[in-house]
């Protein structure tokens, strides 16, 4: 990968990271969007889409409410896509087994996102305090600038998360991929589907609505029967 591509990926990681909380919240940060976007930058959007599919539902039920910080699925998606595309020549394997391995290596590292995000928000505590002091001093423009400076802390925290996941994930893959790739290849489609189904179960578990089990069971059984009998 060229240096410009890496720089563009860093830009995507920062912009998508900002979209999580600090700016816009258009949901560009969702794995289903940011992973194909990263893939597009690196020349393979379909591989990114596969990564996004596996990750989209996993933490969707974790609401970004108030001070609650869910694991950083945005940077997990960015990093898993980068790993899947950059490790192919190194490991000598490719395709869905490698995508699954990269996703599995990146998922636990999403916890780093929580740590960096918490640091960014703690840094912003000082900005808020200073901003309020500037307002009391009649320096309204400076308070505005301090508010916008908060974007930098969120952007840096996003980039740091992506970097850490790529580095640690890459090292883990170098060690584990030769041992696991055979089993992952054998498990194949069931492993790929099971990741999506686990995400679906995790989301279902957070639904908190009456009749969720009966609705799910009816939809599942009805669809399976229709597909079977058609």
């Amino acid at each position: 990968m060229a240096v410009t591509q890496y720089m563009l990926v860093a830009l995507v990681a920062m912009l998508a990271g900002l979209d999580r909380v600090a700016m816009g919240q258009f949901m560009i940060s969702r794995p289903l969007v940011v992973a194909p976007l990263t893939g597009l930058v690196l020349g393979n959007p379909l591989l990114g889409l596969e990564v996004g599919m596996l990750l989209e539902l996993l933490w969707l039920g974790r609401l970004p409410v108030g001070a609650a910080i869910p694991p950083d699925d945005t940077q997990v998606a960015v990093a898993a896509t980068v790993l899947a595309l950059s490790m192919e020549p190194v490991l000598g394997v490719g395709g869905m087994p490698l995508v699954i391995l990269c996703v599995l290596a990146a998922i636990p590292l999403g916890k780093f996102g929580q740590v960096f995000d918490r640091l960014a928000r703690s840094f912003n505590d000082r900005l808020a305090e200073d901003g309020h002091s500037h307002i009391l001093a009649g320096e309204f423009h400076r308070a505005e600038r301090l508010h916008l400076l908060g974007l930098a802390s969120f952007a840096i925290s996003s980039l740091a998360t992506a970097l850490v996941i790529v580095l640690i994930g890459g090292l883990a893959l170098l060690g584990l991929a030769p041992l696991l790739i055979g089993a992952v290849r054998d498990a194949g489609l069931s492993l790929q589907y099971s990741l999506i189904i686990v995400g679906a179960a995790a989301l279902l578990g957070t639904m908190n609505i009456q009749r969720s089990i009966s609705l799910f069971t009816a939809a599942f059984s009805g669809t399976l029967l229709v597909l079977w009998l058609r």
């Binding site: 289903l32 889409l49 001070a67 900005l127 901003g131 992952v184 194949g188 609705l215 009805g222 597909l227």
Partner: protein
Amino acid sequence: MMVRRLPFSVFLGMYFRSFLLQASWNFERLQNLGFYYLMLPGLRSLYGDKLTVETCAQHSEYFNTHPYFAPLVAGTTLRIEQERRAGGETTVDAETYRMSVMAPFAAMGDAFFWGGVRPLAALVGLLIAIQGSLWAPFIFLMLFNLPHLVSRGGGLLLGYFLELRSIEMVQKCRLPDLAVRLKESTTILLGVLCAYLSFNGCEHQAISPVWGFVVLPVVLLFAWLAHKGFSSLFLVLLTTTSLLLLALMF
């Protein structure tokens, strides 16, 4: 009381600034600087050079609501501020209004947008993505951002023009009920998605689709575990380890 309408550019400025409401989100005062930043075009238009420290300080106190509902709160706050500036009587002062509506709007927005619209849009996107179509991210973004952008822009205008009556208007939308309907639709789509994947898995393994029903109790068990507080990471590790062990053994 009749007050002069503020120029459109003020609303436009506030609308765009609402996208940066959480730029300095912090644990101590949450969206306080963001709300001040959002209100500034309106306050500058109202007070011009006579913008006082007291006014600005009042709007930079602790604030926290759903980001998509913040423009609505800002619109009403601006109108109250404008009427106060014009010397009219207001039912509530800006601070009391802001403090009393931010929590209910936060709860409503969380349930509707995060709990309702987002999972449903993601599920629709995912069902398209499984077909290998790159339209999936676009469809997801469109489905999600339509209500999002309407809520920001419409909320700002509604808040300003209807003032306190905007609360009634929002109540009439019955967003909590709508959120439940969206969650029910999401649950149905989750069932469709899992069944489709089970069926495909059976076809791939060349076994009868009736084996697909095995997935149903597994999903329900995992959903129960997730409901009991087991993390997605734990569920992923459990599933992956089991499948890899099975693959290694057979």
